[in-house]
Symmetry: C2
Subunit: 196 residues, 2 copies
């Protein structure tokens, strides 16, 4: 007698998505290692075992989460770059604004991706590291380009390091924006863009 399982009128394959979302929420709040499969199961009204009908392991769920957010970030950044001219200043502003908006719109995703990717098995972790590097390189390229063409200048410093430092500084501002942003949305995008 399985008493209260008339709730089985649940979605067909959407369960996978619900697990994905619950993982997002819980990993964000408690961290990957701080979240148990049982908590995950509770959050989607399932038994621990049922999770394994949708993901072969807890790690694979983390990877699915991290991988997807990278897909989205890549898509947004390359679309943004396509939609703007080849003026480095405009490019930088557009990239920063778009990436900021992205982090504001998806604070859970970006936080988990940035914080918990360490817990992936070596192979998958490396793949993530590569993707992160590519994003950084994208910003650095724009800055380097702008410097070469005289649109940006980096004070008293040797050029190579300064470009890297500046792009990292900008990225840091952008990446952490999701940590503190709370009120009215679209403003802050202009905000950080204005800060250059």
């Amino acid at each position: 007698m399985v008493s209260a399982v008339a709730v089985n009128v649940r979605s067909p394959k959407m369960t996978r998505e619900r697990i994905h979302d619950a993982g997002l929420t819980l990993f964000n709040e408690r961290g990957y290692t701080g979240t148990t499969v049982r908590e995950l199961a509770d959050a989607v009204d399932l038994t621990p075992g049922a999770i394994y009908n949708h993901y072969p392991s807890k790690e694979s769920l983390l990877f699915a989460i991290v991988d997807r957010v990278h897909d989205e970030a890549d898509a947004i950044l390359s679309e943004t770059l396509r939609g703007v001219g080849n003026d480095p200043v405009a490019q930088l502003e557009a990239l920063a604004a778009a990436f900021t908006a992205f982090h504001i719109a998806r604070p859970r995703e970006t936080r988990v991706a940035n914080r918990d990717y360490i817990y992936l098995p070596p192979g998958e972790r490396e793949s993530v590291v590569r993707r992160r590097r590519r994003v950084r390189a994208l910003f650095a390229d724009v800055l380097r380009d702008g410097e070469r063409r005289g649109h940006f200048s980096f004070g008293e410093l040797g050029s190579g390091d300064a470009v890297q430092a500046a792009s990292m500084a900008i990225l840091n501002m952008v990446v952490l924006v999701g940590e503190w942003f709370d009120p009215s949305g679209p403003r802050s995008a202009d905000d950080t863009a204005a800060l250059h």
Copy 2:
């Protein structure tokens, strides 16, 4: 037959410090929940049980680490503020430079403090949260002061939010500097200070 324990010529009370340091290194690398007491014990050539002669629990070690780095940060910031005039611009530059240098000098400490304080029990976690807020308030106060006296201006935005946003943006740059900084040291302190 305790075979190879002639190594017992170890320090008297310095062991606590060695555990503290090993915890710092391991928590930084693997995260708090990703580090086991046995790994910790291995790192200081001890038995798991021996750890508990120095710390009543794993959590208490985390708290000791996080608490100390906040002590040091507070000390540095208030000393810095004491050593400079009451010009908001100079104050901001000095604070940012000092805090940046701090994060560069202590990447393990600051990373663990910023990342793993969530795993503290509620009471201790709250105390840490309060201390973090106080640091942010310090920067915000300087900015607010500077704005009121006409030294800073925040573009098209309403004043209240802008001050908060700007101070957070600055802090984000500073706080994450330890994540990517690697080569020649004293330069980057000037660097971020110059970025304002």
